[in-house]
């Protein structure tokens, strides 16, 4: 059993949007057989929360130089491009 990948989900307040995204990632990756744990944070806190993180998924703009892969998406809220984003997340986690 491989170690679960850690996905840090960032949004403005770490309350609303990131909750939907975290839940969506957990469910979709479970279906794909990829063990993940998600953490949530405010976009402003992101630099201090990167320890052990394999992938950052964010719904707000974040700096480009975080040193871990970053996926920016609203697909978990709007549904637009959701399959593509899930594929990107899957690929990023497989590579990490």
């Amino acid at each position: 059993m491989s170690q679960p990948k850690v996905v840090l989900v960032a949004c403005g307040t770490a309350i609303a949007t990131s909750t939907v995204v975290a839940k969506g990632i957990e469910e979709a990756m479970r279906e794909r057989g990829i063990p993940v744990v998600t953490r949530q944070c405010k976009a402003a806190e992101i630099r201090n929360r990167l320890n052990g993180v394999d992938l950052v998924v964010t719904t707000t703009p974040v700096p480009a130089d975080l040193g871990v892969p970053v996926i920016q998406t609203l697909a978990f809220l709007t549904g637009i491009g959701k399959e593509e984003v899930l594929k990107q997340i899957e690929d990023a986690l497989k590579e990490s």
């Binding site: 307040t13 309350i15 909750t19 969506g24 976009a43 609203l74 809220l77 709007t78 549904g79 637009i80």
Partner: protein, 156 residues
């Protein structure tokens, strides 16, 4: 969950708003009057909207915004809803420089991060369902809104 948390006193249909601020203030005032949020909520939500906007471009003609703010301004969780006759400008959550003409606004008064997961997932379901959005935009009564939202599946 969403139908339970939607405050009937904070459903405003076919509202003609001057701008996004007017919508946020009206819905915040309604939630304050019904005891769901503190008086500080409106200003806090506006400040947050200016810094971290919540506009969302949806798949159809109607676009949405989900203004919300920090938990300390909330007394009890609730959702307020406005449908607008004319679009008002919100900014895109993921690209704040982009303006979005919004006619559907869910103002969210949230408590703890994990406690309203089901409701938030239901809001996302609504935003992804063009048929449901059309029903909400056409609704003329609280009953019609509740009827439309009752079609949303409560997540497990």
């Amino acid at each position: 969950m969403l139908t339970e948390l939607l405050d009937p006193h904070a459903i405003v249909l076919h509202y003609t708003a001057k701008d996004a601020e007017a919508v946020i203030r009206l819905l915040s005032d309604r939630l304050q009057a019904s005891g769901h949020v503190h008086a500080s909520f409106a200003d806090a939500a506006l400040k947050r909207e200016a810094e971290l906007p919540t506009g969302l471009t949806l798949a159809g003609d109607i676009h949405a915004a989900i203004p919300h703010t920090e938990v300390e301004h909330v007394i009890r969780p609730a959702v307020a809803l406005a449908t607008l006759t004319e679009p008002v400008t919100f900014h895109n959550m993921i690209n704040p420089d982009e303006e979005i003409p919004v006619r559907l606004v869910f103002l969210l008064a949230l408590e703890q991060p994990k406690s309203q997961v089901a409701m938030l997932q239901e809001v996302a379901q609504v935003l992804q369902n063009q048929n449901l959005i059309a029903q909400l935009m056409a609704a003329n009564s609280i009953q019609e809104v509740q009827q439309a939202l009752s079609q949303v599946n409560t997540p497990p």
